[in-house]
C-alpha cells in the first residue's frame, strides 16, 4: 500500500514535468482546497489563494523540471510548505507576521524559495522586455523561439519575400530584445 502511494507520487511528478494535463489536474484537485483554507483563514481572498497555489505549482514544476522526482516528502507537504512561505512573505509586506494554521507537517523549502524568486524576477523581466518590444518583432521572435517555426514558414506567414529578409529582421528584433532584457538584468544585479 505504502509502496503504491510512493509510486503514484513519482508518476504524478513525472507527469507534471511533461505537462501532462491529467497529472496536473490530480495534484491541483488534491491540494487546492487545503491551500485555499490556509490563505482564507489568514485574511486572504480566494483570488489570493489561487495566486499563491499556482505559484507553488510553478515551484514544484520547476523542481521536477530540473530532473529530480525525489521530493523526500508528500506532494501535499511540499506544496503546503511553499504556500506557507509565499503567503507569509505577502503578509509581511503588509506588516503582519503570524499565521493561524493547524498543521505541523512542514519541510524546509529555503532553496526552492530562493530559486523560485530568482526565476520569478527573470520571468517578469522577460515579460516586460517582450511587452515593450512591439510588433511585428514580438510575434516574429515568438514564432521562431517559442513556436519553433522555421524561417521559411515565418517568411511566409509574416509576408517577407524570402527567408533571408526574415532572418535579417529576426536578427534586428533579437538584438533589441536582448538589449531590453539585459538592461533590466544588469540594473537588478547592481
Amino acid at each position: 500500500m505504502h509502496l503504491k502511494a510512493e509510486h503514484s507520487q513519482t508518476a504524478l511528478l513525472q507527469g507534471l514535468a511533461r505537462n501532462d494535463k491529467k497529472a496536473i489536474e490530480t495534484i491541483y484537485k488534491e491540494n487546492f482546497n487545503l491551500i485555499q483554507a490556509l490563505v482564507i483563514n489568514n485574511s486572504g481572498s480566494t483570488e489570493d489563494a489561487k495566486d499563491i497555489f499556482q505559484e507553488a505549482m510553478i515551484v514544484l514544476y520547476q523542481k521536477v523540471g530540473s530532473g529530480s522526482f525525489e521530493l523526500n516528502c508528500q506532494i501535499k507537504t511540499f506544496v503546503y510548505s511553499v504556500c506557507r512561505r509565499l503567503w507569509l512573505k505577502r503578509l509581511m509586506q503588509q506588516s503582519r507576521y503570524s499565521l493561524h494554521e493547524n498543521t505541523d507537517d512542514l519541510v524546509v523549502v529555503d532553496d526552492e524559495m530562493e530559486d523560485h524568486e530568482k526565476r520569478n524576477t527573470e520571468f517578469t523581466m522577460m515579460e516586460k522586455a517582450m511587452g515593450s518590444l512591439g510588433e511585428p518583432c514580438k510575434s516574429l521572435l515568438e514564432a521562431f523561439y517559442m513556436q519553433k517555426k522555421n524561417m521559411q514558414e515565418i517568411a511566409g506567414s509574416f509576408g517577407y519575400t524570402n527567408a533571408e529578409n526574415a532572418k535579417t529582421q529576426k536578427y534586428k528584433c533579437l538584438m533589441r530584445l536582448k538589449k531590453l532584457f539585459f538592461t533590466q538584468y544588469k540594473n537588478d544585479s547592481l
Binding site: 496536473i24 482564507i40 489561487k50 520571468f123 517559442m146 532572418k167 533579437l174
Partner: protein, 375 residues
C-alpha cells in the same frame, strides 16, 4: 551587419546542436581563439535558456488556469464564483472578528437601552409606541382573518352541501394586482390573498374573473395568480417591463391601484433603497396609499415596474413600502423550477412606453391592472 547575422546564426546552430560534426569542431576552435565569439556563445546560451523558461512557465500558467476553471466547473475544488458556500465561509472568516465585536456592542446597547426605557419611562418609550401600533395593526388583521376564517367555514358548509362554486361569492377583502404575462398571470402581494378560498380579479370594465393562486412567497410578500375564467380574453402584449435591477433614489414613480371601486392614480418618488427597519427586500417610496393599494405596481417614467406596493408605516406619515421588482423574476423562476407546467410564462422584458406621455402611459397600463378580490 551581414557578418553579424551569420555569426549569430552559427552561434544559435551550435547551441541547439544543429551543426554537423566537422562544423562543430571548426566552430569550437574558433571559440577558443576568439574570446568575443566565446562570450557571445555564453551570453546567447543564457538568453535562449531565459526565453525557453519564459515560454515554458507561461504555458504552464495557462494550463494551471485552465485546470482551475475546469475543476471549479466540475465542483471538484471550492470556487466562490460558482458556489456560494465558499464565499460565505470566506466572508465569515474575514469578518468574524468584526461581527463578534459588533454583536457584543449591540448586546450592550440593547441592555442599556432597555434599562433606560425602564427607568425613565416604563412602558411608554417612543419605540414601544411604534411597536405597539404595529402590533395593533397585526391584531386587527388577525381579527379580520379570524372573521374571514369563520366566513369561509360558513361557505365551506354551504359548498359541502352543494359541491359547486356558489354563483354569488361576496368577496370581503382585496387589493390590487397586475398582469405579468398576457396569458392571464398576475402578480399581487401574498398578504392580499392570505387565507383565500376564492380569488377573483376585476378589470376596468367591472367584470369579475375567477383566478387561482399558483405561487405564494410570504416572506417576500409576492403571489402569482392565474386567471382561469373562461370569460378572460387575452389582451395585446403587456406595454410595461418588469425591471430586474434596483431603482435609484429620487426616481419619480407612479402607481395604479384599487383602494376603492375605481382605479386610482398616485404619484411620488423612490425615497430609500430599503424598506421598514432596513429590510433589503423592499424599498421605501413616498406616495399616497390606502387599504386596497396592496399589490399595486410601482412604475417609473420609462414604463418599467420597479416594485409592488405592500405596506405603510403607521407611525410615519407618507412612508410606504414596496417589494422590489426583481423578486417577481425570482418568484417566477421558483415557480418554474417547482412546476414545469409554467415553463411558457414569460415576463415582459421591454417597455413600449419609454417615450409615451404620462396620461397615455396610465391609460395603457390601466387595462392590465386588476382589482383582486378575495373570499
Amino acid at each position: 551587419m551581414i557578418e553579424d547575422i551569420k555569426i549569430l546564426e552559427a552561434v544559435e546552430r551550435y547551441i541547439t546542436g544543429e551543426m554537423s560534426p566537422d562544423e562543430r569542431v571548426y566552430f569550437e576552435s574558433l571559440r577558443k581563439s576568439n574570446p568575443e565569439i566565446d562570450q557571445m556563445v555564453v551570453e546567447h546560451t543564457f538568453f535562449l535558456q531565459q526565453i525557453a523558461r519564459f515560454e515554458d512557465t507561461r504555458q504552464f500558467k495557462s494550463i494551471l488556469n485552465d485546470t482551475h476553471s475546469h475543476l471549479a466547473e466540475k465542483g471538484l475544488i471550492q470556487s466562490p464564483r460558482l458556489k456560494g458556500a465558499a464565499k460565505v465561509f470566506y466572508l465569515f472568516n474575514r469578518y468574524k472578528r468584526t461581527v463578534a465585536i459588533a454583536a457584543s456592542v449591540a448586546g450592550i446597547m440593547a441592555l442599556s437601552i432597555s434599562a433606560m426605557v425602564w427607568s425613565f419611562s416604563p412602558g411608554k418609550s417612543a419605540i414601544k409606541d411604534d411597536v405597539q401600533q404595529l402590533n395593533r395593526e397585526i391584531t386587527s388583521l388577525k381579527n379580520q382573518t379570524r372573521e374571514q376564517g369563520n366566513q369561509i367555514k360558513n361557505i365551506k358548509t354551504q359548498i359541502e352541501t352543494t359541491d359547486l362554486v356558489p354563483p354569488d361569492i361576496t368577496y370581503t377583502t382585496g387589493g390590487t394586482g397586475f398582469l405579468v404575462d398576457a396569458k392571464g398571470y398576475l402578480v399581487t402581494n401574498a398578504h392580499v390573498i392570505e387565507g383565500a378560498k376564492y380569488v377573483a380579479v376585476q378589470n376596468a370594465s367591472g367584470k369579475d374573473l375567477r383566478a387561482k393562486i399558483v405561487y405564494t412567497d410570504v416572506k417576500r410578500d409576492i403571489a402569482i395568480l392565474k386567471i382561469i375564467d373562461t370569460g378572460f380574453k387575452i389582451p395585446p402584449a403587456i406595454p410595461y417591463a418588469i425591471r430586474k435591477s434596483s431603482a435609484d433614489i429620487a426616481e419619480p414613480i407612479f402607481s395604479l391601484g384599487y383602494p376603492r371601486n375605481d382605479i386610482v392614480y398616485g404619484e411620488g418618488y423612490l425615497a430609500a433603497k430599503t424598506g421598514y427597519n432596513g429590510d433589503t427586500l423592499a424599498v421605501q417610496i413616498s406616495i399616497n396609499a390606502n387599504r386596497g393599494n396592496s399589490g399595486s405596481p410601482i412604475i417609473n417614467r420609462k414604463g418599467e415596474i420597479i416594485g409592488v406596493l405592500n405596506a405603510r408605516q403607521t407611525s410615519a406619515e407618507g412612508a410606504v413600502f414596496a417589494v422590489q421588482s426583481k423578486y417577481i423574476h425570482d418568484a417566477l423562476s421558483h415557480l418554474q423550477k417547482s412546476d414545469s407546467a409554467y415553463q411558457n410564462v414569460k415576463l415582459p422584458s421591454s417597455s413600449s412606453l419609454r417615450t409615451t406621455e404620462r396620461t397615455q402611459q396610465v391609460k395603457k397600463i390601466s387595462d392590465y391592472v386588476y382589482m383582486v378580490k378575495v373570499n
